[in-house]
Amino acid sequence: MSAPVAASPTGLADRDELDLGLPPSYLADGHGVGSWLLTTDHKRIAILYAVTITLFFFLGGAAATLVRLELFTPEADIVRADTYNKLFTLHGVVMVWFFLIPSIPNTLGNFLLPLMIGARDVAFPKLNLVSWYLNVGGGLLAVAALLAGGVDTGWTFYVPYSTVFSNGWVSLTVLGVFTTGFSSIATGVNFIATIHMLRAPGLSWFRLPLFVWAMYTTSLMFVLATPVLAVTLLLVFAERSFGLPIFDPARGGDPVLFQHLFWFYSHPAVYIMILPAMGVISELITCFARRRIFGYTFMVYALVAIAVIGFFTWGHHMFTSGMSSYAALVFSFLSFIVAVPSAIKVFNWTGTLYRGQVGFESPMLYALGFVGLFTLGGLTGLFLASIPVDVHVQDTYFVVAHFHYIMVGASVSAYFGGLHFWWPKITGRMYPETWARFAAILMFFGFNLTFFPQFIAGYLGMPRRYHVYPPEFQVWNVLSSSGAAVLAVAYLMPLGYLTWSLLFGERARNNPWDASGLEWRTSSPPPRDNFFGAPRVQGGPYSYHPEGVAPIHDQPRIPAQGSLT
């Protein structure tokens, strides 16, 4: 029998036309709203997450667009000061908690983790679905606060402003973030248990792909950092809504305590955003350099070290907040230490590229962009970890540029890189490679044009969070806003051509990149049960060319085009 190729995203996975007697793909295994909203399949939950974080990404992006438009000129043109405050708060809250934190772990991680370890699903499939609902519920509360009138505290909710003075919908927003925190915890519990208990036979810890290690360390931080955020927000909620004296200095409270608790979560949260990105990049660079990862064990230890040391450094956000100078010195020192494992990772990626057969497919372009942007963001982090420099640039655009290099330049590049790399596996379709390469390059240039001028403006003294500024900073702001326009196009392009590929893209082969991971040893897209038979693992990850071995030239690189076989 040969059914016609259906023109719907789920129909494209209909394997009837092949008539090989294989089970249907996870996309074809059940239709209708219920089969998605009540699914316990980790792959479908990944898709649910992908849909919601995409919506939040463009919501947060819209707020950023308005901010950059306003900053095009030194005067107030389109929004008032109050609206401006609400816009950057919305941008921060949405991007941090509803896009970046769940981005790679909950979409790519959810989809790939069981596949990479040869499991049928995560350890607690129902909890996985609950986590998505918690995320959506929290997001809806935050969006409701936005529709009701917005919040002007900034994403950090600093007390006593947020608890005593602000007139916005702080409590509702805080409740939304609180709720979504439990989604993170649920995901963390699930991933840790999955990696410990459900690895395929033969898959020992030091045979795990680095992406799995990244998910493991990220989950560790989910579980151990997020509850402290929950308490912090609960205290803000209690002080604001019930008038309990907790942080208000007028009633004997200590606002610095709030900052300790907040940054105990929010600094590790930066590593929650970057560790998964590092995992993705390790997969991409090895595949497209056709090289084993340089220093696998060091890469593992570096991930673990970042996850642990990342918990010791939060005080560097508080150098100018009235923290004691002794504590500031300790935190400064600890912050320098965390740069060491990060540097190890950059060196090892570079070492992997050395003498590799580097190909420049679109995922690799994103990966190479990541390495550059992460290095720049990381190095400027050292400026900020050193107290004298930090006192000078605290609360300027230097800080804004620094953390955008890490959180947007690095993490979002990695997310897009991973999305392109695994797109054929997830959807069963190839995207137009030329468009993808163009978008990747455009994103790199747009990003640098947006944020590099902010380093300079910040170093020259332009403070953050103001909608008007002295005219001498205009040149940097015009550059930055122009870059933002380029960046917006670069972010919208994948939305277009990836959607196009769902309908018209070439069908993907099982392993279009000739990659070595276990997730490629099944059909594209995979069946509900992930594998045909039970996988067994007989060797380490990245079985590409080892160090010191010449590339095999009689095996031509397989082009990235798909075919039906």
């Binding site: 316990t40 069981p114 499991a119 049928r120 699903d121 995560v122 350890a123 607690f124 499939p125 915890i185 963390g188 519990v189 699930n190 840790i192 248990a193 410990h196 208990m197 459900l198 036979p201 579980v223 151990l224 950092a225 997020t226 509850p227 402290v228 929950a230 308490v231 912090t232 609960l234 205290l235 209690a238 002080e239 019930f242 008038g243 309990l244 004296p245 907790i246 009633r251 004997g252 409270g253 200590d254 305590l257 300790h260 608790l261 105990f264 049960d529 039970a534």
Partner: protein, 227 residues
Amino acid sequence: MSGAPGEAGAAAHLREPWSELETGPAAAFARQRDGATFGIWIFLASEVLFFAALFLIYTAYRIANPEAFAAAGRATNIVYGTLNTAILLTSSLTMAMAAQGAEKGLFRRLTLGCLAATAALGLAFLVVKGFEYREDIEKHLVPGAHFALRQAPAQIFFGFYWLVTVVHAIHLGIGIGLVTRLLVKGWRDPDVLTENPQVEVTALYWHLVDLVWVFLYPMLYLPGRAG
């Protein structure tokens, strides 16, 4: 009932994705149980951080305001506090008995009875707490304009008191719900609790809620008694 350990439980409770493991059902079920126990312990570690953050707030303020915290601690009702501690510790005993009974799968009546006792003790705690709250309100121990104690930081103590006891009561309420759920299931179907990992998971959560109170007792009720 007296088959090889794990077989009856595996038949009743083995779930995806554990059922796909390449082992016999008994071994797969043992792994599922281990996974459930491990999973709840990870969550408990998370809860430890949750309450640690609250306790840290208390510690920092108590170090800064020892006199006011002593005065405020004296104002709490140690009789209610001690009684409630005893109630919760006893409920942990019955919960542990229920879990150990269900683990063997041998003593259905013991398990059900202990689960019922646990839920009842939890409710008793909430009732006592309700009486205590009423007394606290009558004695103007709610932070605000009519607060009873002179020292300003005593208000912070009671801000913490109300927050942390309510958060604890919510945790306990969830625990009572979980225990009741097991009780109803076990009542309807005699075999459902046998070797069911959910009993162990519920028990571990219950004990944690108890442990939180064990530390709240010296924090809230014991300061300043000597003065």
